[in-house]
Symmetry: C2
Subunit: 221 residues, 2 copies
DNA sequence: AACGCGATGGCAGCAAACTGCCATCGCCCG
DNA sequence: CGGGCGATGGCAGTTTGCTGCCATCGCGTT
């Protein structure tokens, strides 16, 4: 594969055989966008990255993972995420699905994995500066506004159930409690109870502060 | 170019000659990520898109443009953006730079333009489902959280002077009005007057709604 | 069927927020 | 200096929000 070539392979074995040499020796950065941590593993790259991350004193080596909300759906996944983060990786959660896995190593090599296939998964590998650079820029745009997972684990991002979301939307409309309660078919007392619960979840002492947190964390989407 | 091939060309003329046929006849969607509206124009694709957009009654044809903050730096640029939007395009502003232009047509054809070059600009064109799908997913992730420009132009982003910012920060701390007023060295009446003025600027009918708008629009940064 | 428990709804008392009114102050201009 | 005007501050009346209390209801379990 020449400097500007693009290589398409099918299956893990072919990927390793024809392009494995590109993935070892990551020096500066490993960025990855994926649905969750389980979609795909590339053994040699993972080994290379793991040894880098174990050398915690290594300055300047960044691991940034952009995952979809599916990555947080169960407790085992969240535990795994905590482990990855404790090794120095930074994780952010996108608001969209990310059905394709994209890996960029040292802004030089890019691997794109097709959707999970029943037989052989298709991978595209490239060192084209235009392709790598363009995709990296889009990754950066998505990364910049994705939710930082450290904040989630530090309890800064509350989980809101359907009741809370309903109340939140009513509050966001700016109505009085009486009007909002009537619109939701609740008694005023129940509506206010819901509001108080939402405020507790948001750790907010005033309605302005509550609205601020919702807006900043984009909890109303 | 076969179905899974990737084509790299240099210069506009070569791009048109070898791949121009791919760009005409857009049927459903045109998405573009770029620094601003002036970085690059592809004549045949632009013509095709313009005629689609002029046929305003055409149902289901979407034009989504993700631009960097540079796109808003001067009045001429903003006027141009208004024109593009009046023709039915949706525009959002990313928080990052987007130095590469990425175009995806009907989720089938992708064009990636390299950085502006002194001589011949490099373009990469592909119909590879893995490449197009992967990049499209990243575009979606970035698009989802980018700032909608229609809101900006509809005056939804108020300008806050120093007094309003001071009050806003006090409100964000969650204190009662009495405490906040005392901390700011104002009488309660004046503080409340300031709060009412801020609410009017935010067009908010409740404190929650005001906080929400501040948080969403990142006015407290 | 009876019981327990959590959720709901009505009411009351209180706190917080909203705003009009009017006096006062500070600043600027003639 | 006097007058005008905008901003401030105190007060009062009103509205909205907060929460405890208690009765009732609905659901699940034994």
């Amino acid at each position: 594969m020449t400097a500007d070539q693009v290589l398409t392979v099918r299956g893990d074995a072919e990927l390793i055989a024809r392009a494995g040499h590109l993935f070892t020796g990551a020096k500066h950065e490993f960025v990855c966008a994926a649905r969750d941590l389980n979609t795909w593993s590339l053994p040699s790259a993972r080994q290379s990255i793991s040894s880098k991350m174990l050398a915690a004193s290594e300055v300047g080596f960044a691991v940034n993972k952009l995952l979809s909300p599916v990555a947080l759906t169960d407790e085992a996944a969240r535990l795994h995420l905590r482990q990855v983060m404790s090794k120095g990786a930074r994780v952010r959660i996108s608001s969209t699905q990310l059905p394709y896995e994209t890996i960029i190593i040292d802004r030089r090599v890019m691997i794109l994995a097709g959707r999970d296939a029943p037989v052989q998964r298709e991978f595209t590998v490239t060192t084209s500066p235009t392709l790598v650079g363009g995709v990296y820029a889009l990754f950066q745009a998505a990364w910049a506004t994705a939710t930082d997972l450290a904040a989630y684990f530090h309890g800064d991002v509350p989980h809101l159930d359907a009741d809370s979301l309903t109340v939140l939307r009513a509050l966001g409309a700016g109505h009085t409690d009486e009007t909002a309660a009537r619109q939701l078919g609740l008694s005023l007392r129940t509506y206010r109870r819901r509001v108080a619960e939402l405020m507790a979840k948001l750790e907010a002492d005033s309605r302005f502060q509550a609205g601020l947190r919702v807006g900043e964390l984009r909890l109303n989407e």
